[in-house]
């Protein structure tokens, strides 16, 4: 690609990734979540792949990150077994990390709440972003 595309894509890279990160982090408060934010981040990586046609990024790096995201997701669910049951939300209402007790009624949304749901969103976001980038990269390399 020519220089204009390269520079514009580099400029747009950080806003897109930050927006994707915002959607992932606010998954438990606003519409959106891990999957949607992951897709936004993957679109930034797709932009990079199209603009810089060199094979800088290796396929197996993405599959490794994807595996880490999946393993993180299911291991959080497994930690719940030691507390109560599988997928038990052991962090909520502890008034510690991600555990702010929310009282009944309207509020403007606390980021420090939701227990394990934000962590799950993060894991799904990592997984979806790397999996979609993997798919795009393997389509391009064909």
């Amino acid at each position: 690609m020519n220089r204009v595309v390269k520079i514009i894509s580099l400029i747009m890279l950080s806003p897109i990734i930050i927006f994707g990160g915002y959607i992932i982090c606010h998954g438990h408060l606003t519409p959106g979540g891990g999957f949607q934010g992951g897709v936004v981040i993957a679109s930034a990586i797709a932009l990079l792949i199209i603009a810089f046609e060199d094979k800088i990024i290796k396929n197996h790096l993405f599959s490794l990150i994807e595996t880490i995201g999946l393993t993180f997701f299911i291991s959080i669910a497994f930690v719940g077994i030691f507390k109560n049951t599988f997928f038990y939300n052991f962090l909520s209402n502890t008034n510690y990390i991600l555990g702010k007790t929310i009282y009944f009624g309207a509020n403007s949304g606390y980021l420090n709440s939701g227990g394990i749901i934000p962590l799950m969103n993060l894991a799904v976001g990592v997984e979806v972003a790397s999996a979609l980038s993997f798919i795009i990269l393997s389509i391009k390399n064909k």
């Binding site: 599959s63 490794l64 595996t67 880490i68 999946l70 393993t71 299911i74 291991s75 669910a77 497994f78 719940g80 077994i81 109560n84 049951t85 599988f86 997928f87 038990y88 939300n89 009944f104 009624g105 309207a106």
Partner: protein, 537 residues
């Protein structure tokens, strides 16, 4: 103890996700982990079965300490898993077969590349099978249906020939329609009752016309998964090209789909008689067609597929005719025969496909594509009985078992089915016996063409672990065949009682209804707070 039911499903899932990480360290480590995982879930499912026999059924809700503790509005919207004697026994049996098949495929598949991906899909398909057995609400049913369909597609494409891609496309296009049918049926139920939980729907259902449409959608999607007479085409395409261990797991997924189908028809739709009559007819037709079409085939893997279809016909014939003879003394026996035949079908067809896998291995026929050019009539493989006497003896035993001859396990279950369905309609018994005779003809033909005669070329030595696995399967078959009374008393009778009696989560529904009344105040509160919220804006 309570968490065993979820551990059986999730330990293979965790292992499947960990495999790409383990592969970085060493290939042997990842194989060791899969073996350890399979042995672990064998032990867990055994203790699950034992605890269910002692303490009764288990209802497990994911994410809450009790199923009655539900969402703030009081609806049972959590993922709910249920286990009774039948489903936990099937889980125990299926995990044993899946782990033995894994050790078999370690021995015979080792020359292929990308084996780690094969085992990831293998474990995911096992997750789908076990999830089908324990599923307690419709949404989870849909999720496990998708998991097992997609991972089966991955297993079919594994050998990566041109034919594999063709078959996988065929399979995926059929199953995308099938899963949409399932979703449509579930959506019809959900739009009427507002619940996805099977226990709640079974209480609220009014059996209206729309419910019958929903039953036909869900039933046809599940029959597609089972693969009986009009829905069997994907099975031939898929089995033709996939490795032997994938074929065995696919048979197990069909068997677990039979269990889910009867659970839905019996528990939720309260024995819809026209559907069960249709099932009886379809199963009789699949016995006839499966065997007749198997006679005409030359490809060994296609023969496995057709014989598997006819054996599935026997199972469904037994169970559905048992439901048709409700409140008579033959009901128990017919269902007992059908459920007993689930075990025997998995063992017999499993052993047949294991032996055929060994035959393809020792004849150096590596992939399925080259095998399609080898037909039985060209006598490519001949005279194996001279060099492999143990293999030929085990093949003879499989012939006896599959065609239902006395000293082996196939006889024990088929005789129960024949005797009990005779009281429904003698024609069904005639079809069943005719099917057995045709099975005998198919297998005798294979035996004569492959094992007899003079050997025509050099063959590899037989893989040792694979032979040990075949002998373990055979010893199960002989033990069940010699002591069928003891086996049915210990394992099958509790399962039949579990299928006939309504599931134990009835008490639990009352709990949930009490909870609903309590939570009514909470719903009120939420409405109130919404009002306040609007005022606030």
């Amino acid at each position: 103890m309570r968490n065993f039911i979820i551990l059986v499903i999730t330990i293979p899932l965790l292992t499947a996700f960990l495999l790409p990480l383990l592969k970085i360290f060493s290939k042997k480590l990842s194989n060791f982990c899969i073996g350890l995982n399979l042995i672990l879930i064998n032990i867990i499912s055994f203790f699950l079965y034992k605890s269910i026999l002692e303490n009764g059924n288990i209802i497990y809700s994911v994410g809450a300490s009790a199923p009655s503790i539900t969402a703030p509005s009081g609806f049972p919207i959590r993922i709910i898993l249920t286990a009774n004697a039948l489903s936990s026994f099937l889980a125990m049996f299926f995990t044993i077969i899946a782990s033995l098949t894994f050790f078999y495929s370690l021995n015979t598949l080792k020359e292929y590349a990308n084996l780690d991906k094969f085992y990831i899909l293998y474990l995911l398909l096992l997750v789908g099978i076990l999830g089908f057995l324990f599923v307690g609400d419709f949404f989870t049913l849909f999720v496990f249906y998708e998991i097992s369909s997609i991972s089966t597609a991955g297993l079919i494409v594994f050998l990566r020939n041109k034919e594999n891609f063709k078959s996988t496309f065929h399979y995926l296009s059929i199953f995308s329609i099938g899963s949409l049918f399932l979703l449509l049926g579930i959506g019809l139920l959900y739009s009427q009752y507002g619940f996805l939980n099977m226990a709640i729907i079974s209480q609220k259902i009014q059996l209206s016309f729309l419910d019958k449409i929903a039953l036909s959608f869900i039933g046809s999607a599940l029959l597609l998964k089972v693969g009986v007479f009009p829905f069997y085409f994907w099975k031939i395409e898929a089995y033709k090209v996939s490795p032997i261990s994938a074929i065995i797991l696919s048979i197990l997924s069909s068997l677990s789909a039979i269990y889910v189908m009867f659970k839905i028809v019996f528990y939720i739709f309260g024995l819809n008689i026209p559907f069960i009559i249709a099932l009886t007819l379809l199963s009789a037709l699949s016995i006839l067609f499966g065997n007749l079409l198997a006679l005409a085939q030359k490809n060994l893997k296609k023969i496995i597929a057709y014989l598997a279809i006819s054996e599935l016909g026997y199972i469904i014939l037994g169970i559905s005719s048992g439901f048709l003879m409700q409140n008579s003394k033959f009901e128990f026996n017919a269902i007992k025969g059908g459920l007993f035949h689930i075990i025997n079908d998995a063992l017999d067809i499993g052993t047949l496909s294991l032996i055929i896998g060994v035959i393809l291995y020792i004849a150096k026929i590596k992939n399925s594509l080259s095998y399609n050019s080898v037909s039985l009539q060209q006598n490519e493989i001949r005279g194996l009985a001279h060099k492999y006497p143990l293999l030929s003896i085990s093949f003879l035993l499989v012939i006896l078992a599959l065609s239902g001859l006395p000293p082996l396990n196939g006889f024990a279950s088929k005789i129960i089915i024949y005797e009990s369905i005779f009281h429904l309609n003698p024609a069904l018994t005639i079809i069943g016996v005719l099917g057995s005779i045709l099975t005998l003809a198919v297998l005798i033909k294979i035996f004569a063409l492959i094992f007899l005669g003079a050997p025509n070329r050099d063959y590899q030595p037989a893989p040792k672990i694979a032979m040990v696995v075949i002998f373990i399967f055979l010893s199960f078959m002989i033990l069940i065949g010699l002591f069928p009374m003891q086996f049915t008393n210990y394992f099958i009778n509790p399962s039949v009682k579990a299928l006939i009696s309504k599931p134990g989560y009835k008490n639990n529904i009352h709990l949930q209804q009490d909870n609903q009344e309590q939570n009514h105040s909470i719903i009120h509160l939420t409405l109130h707070s919404k009002q306040r919220y609007f005022n606030y804006i």
